[in-house]
């Protein structure tokens, strides 16, 4: 059903009314993405050292680039019509027009990436980068997340990008980053987002620092409110970690990077089987999803528990050395280790270090297999 054209009041969304519907696809095991610990989802963070979620594919031949460009244009240029039909506020436009659910940036003549002054890059990832930008019309600062269409199509990440746009467009909450709109051209998609200038919550934990229970409670309450709002909207976040919680200039939290968020295919309590997330925060159900038949949105609360533990102890409860091989056995063999156990481990490590002072470096790297 094509939406009824409406007069251009300057704030309505314009999409291609003749486009194919923006379908919300179900979960699939074919899509397996695991982010390594500290892997750089390209959030609005100020960490410029974000590591790659995946390796960047090598340069392809010209024909393959052209194919990606065409496929990308199809995947994103056609987007938004079902969303617009639901909102009943869309009208016909070219495929390079806005695909946002809401537009607060001004009339059509002001839409386009050329209407922004890109100031500097504030975050970088393999899919693209996040730049601080100033909207020329009113001088307001925003964060523009640019995603390469070619990369997304090449790695079958269209669904994640579509989910991010759809979900962020529907969520309105003081602790969830705001999406002002989305733009696109032939090469890239642009998410025009609220600029959150206070840095990552993770920065509070740098150097194995931990927070007091009272301070941690403040952040946990805001994260809890944001997650509850995401769930109330029928979505699952699936990538909660301190790196994805930014702090604004007043010190309040913003949940960012909804790249792995989705709506469960069978309703809010529906099961998902996609392998995604960050290993240190994966629940037992996610790790054994093939045996258990999938997982539900409660995995977000498991990650919330991991974050709570990390804020108050300075490290994650599982996978302290980021060894994913042992993660499943650690998680399945019991609940979080006690503080006494961790303190004992630290004491043992400290005593080993103290006793090894003055010893040669090679003794520290003693290999029992080579022992006489």
């Amino acid at each position: 059903m094509n939406p009824k054209p409406e007069p251009d009041d300057g704030y309505n969304v314009s999409v291609d009314a003749h486009a194919l519907p923006w379908t919300f696809q179900g979960e699939s095991d074919a899509d397996t993405v695991i982010m390594s610990r500290r892997a750089g989802s390209i959030g609005l963070s100020g960490d410029k050292k974000g590591t790659a979620r995946r390796g960047v594919g090598g340069g392809g031949a010209k024909w393959s680039k052209a194919k990606y460009a065409v496929k990308g244009a199809h995947a994103f240029g056609q987007a938004g019509s079902s969303l617009a039909a639901r909102k009943n506020e869309a009208r016909a436009d070219g495929t390079n027009g806005w695909i946002a659910t809401h537009c607060v940036l001004g009339p059509r003549s002001h839409r386009g990436i050329e209407k922004f002054d890109l100031m500097r890059v504030i975050g970088r990832g393999v899919m693209g980068e996040v730049s601080l930008a100033r909207f020329r019309k009113d001088g307001k600062y925003m964060a523009i997340k640019a995603i390469s269409k070619g990369y997304v199509v090449k790695h079958d990440d269209e669904r994640h990008v579509q989910n991010e746009r759809l979900i962020l467009g529907q969520l309105r909450h003081p602790f969830v980053v705001g999406l002002f709109g989305t733009l696109q051209n032939k090469q890239k998609i642009y998410f025009v987002l609220e600029y959150v200038a206070g840095g990552e919550l993770f920065s509070k934990l740098r150097g194995n620092r931990c927070l007091s229970a009272a301070v941690a409670k403040f952040y946990l309450v805001e994260i809890l409110a944001a997650l509850a709002h995401v769930h109330a909207g029928g979505f699952v976040y699936r990538d909660l970690k301190p790196e994805n919680v930014l702090l604004d200039t007043e010190g309040h939290c913003r949940l960012v990077d909804f790249g792995f968020a989705c709506a469960p295919p069978d309703g809010p309590e529906g099961r998902m089987r996609t392998n995604c997330g960050t290993p240190a925060y994966l629940s037992p159900e996610q790790l054994s999803r093939k045996k258990t038949g999938g997982y539900t949105r409660i995995v977000d609360w498991w990650a919330f528990g991991c974050v709570a533990y990390e804020l108050m102890s300075g490290h994650t409860p599982f996978c302290p050395h980021h060894r994913t091989d042992d993660l499943l056995s650690i998680v399945l063999n019991g609940s979080a280790p006690s503080q006494a156990k961790i303190t004992r481990q630290i004491r043992i490590m400290r005593s080993i270090f103290e006793s090894s002072k003055g010893a040669s470096h090679s003794r520290l790297l003693w290999d029992p297999r080579r022992a006489p």
Partner: protein
């Protein structure tokens, strides 16, 4: 970590699913959050003062270094 936050973390990270806290309401009811008024959570932005504020005076400050 005191006994109250430890109890919350333990309840959230139970490997046994039926024993785990798996919804927002039960987590909000935990003892750790007993002094938080979640009914007014939407207004928490207004009346709760953050524990720390990043040292950025303008949008051009490099907050990563603060």
């Amino acid at each position: 970590m005191g006994p109250t936050p430890r109890a919350l973390v333990r309840a959230l990270l139970k490997a046994d699913l039926p024993k785990r806290l798996t919804d927002a309401a039960s987590i909000q009811a935990a003892e750790f959050f007993q002094d938080v008024d979640f009914v007014r959570s939407s207004a928490i932005y207004i009346y709760v003062h953050p524990p720390s504020i990043s040292l950025c005076a303008s949008s051009f400050d490099d907050y990563a270094s603060t």
